[in-house]
Every structure is written in structure tokens, then in C-alpha cells.
Amino acid sequence: MSTSTLTRKSVNKVPVNKKPVNWRRVGAWALVAVAVAVTVAPFLWMLRTALSTNASLASNAGNLLPADFNLGAFKRVLGMQSPEEAIAEGGSGAAINFWLYLRNSIIFASVTTAGQVFFSAMAAYAFSRLRWPGRNAVFGLFLATMMVPPIFTALPNFLMIKNLGLLNTFAGMTLPFLFMTPFAIFFLRQFFLSMSREVEEAAMLDGAKHLRIFFQIVLPNAAAPLATLALLTFIGQWNEYFWPLLVGQDENVRVLTVGLGVFKSQSPQGAPDWTGLMAATLVAALPVLLLFIAFGKKVVNSIGFSGIK
């Protein structure tokens, strides 16, 4: 792709103090603009398609504006159209209940996020503030599992959930994520280690117990990293596909990502229901987009390698 040649160009740009137009800088900005356009344009195309009708899509394939502007696709996806109307507009007519999937996604992502962040914080406290034999060995063992690919544990986990009779239940879907991930513990432990202990030590001299210190001092002081971790975890869980695909096929627990896959495979009337599909993806992406608009800076700044020389 053409961008690979940019590397050199942008580096060649030495700070020049001459007044005339700095063409290198202009060129660099142009490349940034292209990158942003390439990134954002497909999302606009998603919106444009969702606001079109299937019937007029083909004849307006190259038109940048919605073909026959219409909210039918959103209505179809959100179950506000009768099957007859849906079929007339190129939908499958099968009941697709995105409200239900939306509810399921919210339950799945929030329960796993809350559990994972809280229990990981507890463990991180034990790894950073308490002194006990075998602490570093246990921590090392936890960290080592970061290397294990999810598919590797997914098969035995599936068998266990199946044997427990928890297939197609929220319990089965959330349990493997509920208690910890090595990454969450690692992430929080780093912050706890970097936090000043003066207040805690004073509290301890006053006879405060660890439980109180954890709840009243450590957690409030770590609110920012906890929020960042929760945000990242929520987005990750909202987007999770593989595990819910394995254990949550049933409508009652089906999350949006799995629902989208099913929706795509119901190719009605020969051609896919493109407008419905794009409306559905927009609905599914919306919560993450809203979170990102609200907390974008936090997300952006959380990405990096801190502490590496």
C-alpha cells in the first residue's frame, strides 16, 4: 500500500525555519488527512447504507447520498415493522429481536466487567500490599497464563460449562470472564505499586484493617486506572464473539455480535438485506461509539507502553 513509502518522507522533514510554505509539512498533513478519511469514511458508508432502501441500492450503487432516504432498515432491525413490510423491503421477515440482543449484550458485558475489575483489584491488592509466602511464584503463574491462547482453554471450558448444564445461560457465558484476567491483575498491580503508601501506613498505625484500607483508601485513590480498565474491559467484552458463539446460541442469551452473524446468514430473497445489516451493525456499534465520544481521551491515553525505557 502506498503508505509504506511515507515513512521516509515524514522523517526527512528537518525542522526548517524558512518562511516559505513548508511543502513537507503540507505533504505530511495531507497524508494524515488521507489516513483519517480512510478510517472514518467506511463508517459514514455504513450510515448511508442504513438510511437507504434495498430496492434502490443497486441502481444507486455509486451515489454518495442515501438511496431513497428511509428509516425502514432501523425499524426492521428494532422489530417495529410487520413481517410483510419487512419482506417488501428486502428483509427476511424472520423475527429479529435486536432489543433482546442489546439487553443480552448489556448484561454480558457489564456483569463480566464489574466482576473482573473488582476481583482483579482484590487480587492486585494481595500481590502489591500484602506479604505472604509464595506471592511472587503465584503472580508469575498468573502472568504465564497470558501466553495461553483463548482457543486453547475454550474447548475444555466449553466441555465444563456443558457438563455443568450451563450452556445457553448467562452463568455459563459470564463465568470464565467473571473472576480475573491475568492482564487486569497485572495492570492494577502496577498502579497499586506506584501509589503512595503514606495514607495507608498512617491508617494502619491507627489500627485500620486491610479490608477498610482496600475499600476506603486504595479503591478511591485508584479510581482513574480502575475506570480506564473498566472501560477497556467493557469494550472488549461488548465485542467478544468466540465464547458467546460457543455457549450462547440460544435467542434468550444471544448477544449482538452473535446475532449479527446469524442475521447475515439469513440471506433473504437471494440477496442479503444490506440496509438491515448495516442498520444492525450501527445499533451494535453505537454504545461503544458513545462511550468513546464521552471518554475518548482516556482510551487514547491508556494506549501505550509505560515504563519501557
Partner: protein, 319 residues
């Protein structure tokens, strides 16, 4: 989601809590056990999760790989038969080939583009807004990204083929032809990950102190020279970590394949994780699927090890 890699900090035991004001007689025992009781309490939930969903499945996965098991009945021990069967399994080798091809295309382009973007951000565009915009695709689910491109790359009425057609070129069956399926899936994921990877590299670039560049420019080093003798060597540890993380992720590509081609046409995009999935859940061959995932695990460990070793990821030239 792996977002922050932090060097393990030294953690002297001395910092872990105040010495208890205990009686001298029990001091020795106390020192050995420390806060064990409290620690057990705090670590209990995480320990349940670790043992039940990481440790036991890992051991069980290795065990199952030596058995024949079809979910019904009990696993039967068959020794290394699953592994020897793999040697003659054409679909397995095909899956490996397809996966390696995918990883090569995906990582190659993704890293080059991300490096370019990171340098651009570092030099001219530090704004959070631009960084946020470039990060957007990464925050949206794989499935959504896959479906969006599935539509945009549609043979008949997809916008990309409209543009190709308008330029007077023949339409391309991006997901529908054997030769295009893997490059297309790789490109879709380059699009999704390039901004994220660029941000990681950007953070690495920012950690290179300015005075190094100043010295170089005082010495009259050309920009090209500066890039190859300063930027690249100093960025290397971060670059290697980024490569380790992205290559490992890339080997496990599944979502995009599952919702677009499903592994086809014919076997053209049946990546290794898709093959494992089909063996386990399509053919109920859990023993063989487990053996496949043991091999995948070993490959990933090897790849990470080789990258760290030969690219010297944990050494910095900045001293």
C-alpha cells in the same frame, strides 16, 4: 485486549506493608507467614477463576489431545495418534499455510503503515482527536468491521467494486475467489488494527528523548541517517513488543473469517482457528481439535520466543 505493557517493577518485599507489632516469641512465625490469611481472602475469587478457567482447562486440553473424544461418552486414551494423524492431514497443512500467508500479509502491511502513521503523528499531528479517529475501527467489534467490509467489497453493488468499475478495471470477487479471500481478510484487519498499532508505536517514539535528535542534527546527520541510526534502534524494544503482541493475535484470526467466508471458497481461507472450531464443533472431534490447539499454542510460544531472542526485545540501546 492488550493495551499497556509495563515493565515489571522491582517489588521489594520490604515495601509490602508495615511490620506487625507482634510479640517477640511469635515474630519468626509471623514473618514467615506474613499476611497469608488476609492474602488468601483477597486472592480467593481470582484464584477460583484462575484454577477453574485457566489452569484446569490448560491441563485438560493437553490431556484431551492424547485422547479420542466425541463429547458423548468418555475420552479414550490413544497416545500420540492425534499428532501423527496431523502429519498426513492435508487440511491441517493447508490451514497452516493459509494462516501463515494471512499473518505475513497482515503483519507486514500493518506494521509498515502503522510505523508511517506513528512517525506522522509524532512529527506533525499530535492531536488527541486525530489519534482518536484512527483508533475508532479497533474499538468496534471484529464482527461489525467484517460485515461492513463484506458489504463495501460486495461483487455486484459494493462501493469498492463500483470505484474499480468506474476506473475501467474488472470487478474483483474479494471474498468469493480463492486467490483474493486471504489478502482481503488480511487487508480488512490491517484497516482495523493500523491505528491501534500506530498509537503503540507513537508512544514508543515519544519516549525517545529529544536531546538524542539534537545531537544528531548538530553532527549534521541526514534525516535518513537519523531514522536508521537513531529512531529505529531506539524504537526497537517497543517495535519488538508490538510485533510479538500483534503476531500472536494475528495467528488467532477467527471472527472475520467466521462471518465472511466461513473458511471458503473451498479451503482458501480456512485458518487454523477455523479448522479447530470446525473439528470440535462441526465434527465433534474434541481430541483432534485439542491436539491442533496444542500445536497452535506451541507455535505461538515459539514465535514469541524467537522474536524476543533474535530481535533483542528486552534490551534497549538507550543508555
Amino acid at each position: 485486549m492488550m493495551t499497556t505493557l509495563t515493565k515489571q517493577q522491582q517489588d521489594p518485599a520490604a515495601r509490602a506493608g508495615l511490620p506487625k507489632a507482634g510479640k517477640t516469641a511469635r515474630k519468626g512465625r509471623l514473618r514467615r507467614l506474613g499476611d497469608l490469611k488476609m492474602a488468601l481472602f483477597f486472592i480467593f475469587p481470582a484464584m477460583i477463576g484462575f484454577v477453574l478457567f485457566y489452569l484446569v482447562p490448560t491441563i485438560r486440553g493437553v490431556y484431551l489431545s492424547f485422547t479420542e473424544y466425541s463429547i458423548l461418552g468418555d475420552p479414550t486414551w490413544i497416545g500420540i495418534k492425534n499428532y501423527t494423524a496431523m502429519l498426513g492431514d492435508e487440511l491441517f497443512w493447508n490451514a497452516m499455510g493459509v494462516t501463515v500467508q494471512y499473518v505475513g500479509l497482515n503483519i507486514g502491511f500493518q506494521t509498515l503503515i502503522a510505523l508511517g502513521l506513528a512517525l506522522l503523528m509524532h512529527r506533525v499531528a499530535k492531536s488527541t482527536f486525530i489519534r482518536g479517529a484512527l483508533l475508532l475501527p479497533f474499538l468496534v467489534a471484529n464482527v461489525i468491521v467484517a460485515l461492513l467490509w463484506f458489504w463495501m467489497l460486495d461483487y455486484q453493488i459494493g462501493i469498492v467494486n463500483e470505484i474499480i468499475n468506474w476506473m475501467g478495471l474488472p470487478r474483483i470477487a474479494f471474498f468469493g475467489s480463492e486467490q483474493w479471500a486471504i489478502p482481503t481478510i488480511a487487508a480488512v484487519n490491517v484497516w482495523r488494527h493500523m491505528g491501534y498499532t500506530a498509537l503503540l508505536l507513537f508512544a514508543g517514539l515519544q519516549s525517545i528523548p529529544n536531546h538524542v535528535y539534537e545531537v544528531a542534527s548538530l553532527d549534521g546527520a541526514s534525516p535518513t541517517r537519523t531514522f536508521w541510526s537513531i529512531t529505529m534502534p531506539l524504537l526497537r524494544p517497543v517495535l519488538v513488543l508490538v510485533l510479538v503482541v500483534t503476531v500472536i493475535g494475528s495467528f488467532q484470526v477467527f471472527d472475520t473469517v467466521a462471518v465472511t467466508t466461513g473458511g471458503g471458497p473451498i479451503n482458501a481461507s480456512r485458518v487454523i482457528q477455523m479448522y479447530i472450531y470446525q473439528k470440535a464443533f462441526g465434527e465433534s472431534d474434541f481430541g483432534y481439535a485439542s491436539a491442533l490447539s496444542v500445536i497452535l499454542f506451541l507455535i505461538l510460544a515459539l514465535v514469541a520466543f524467537v522474536q524476543m531472542k533474535f530481535l533483542k526485545g528486552n534490551e534497549s540501546d538507550l543508555d
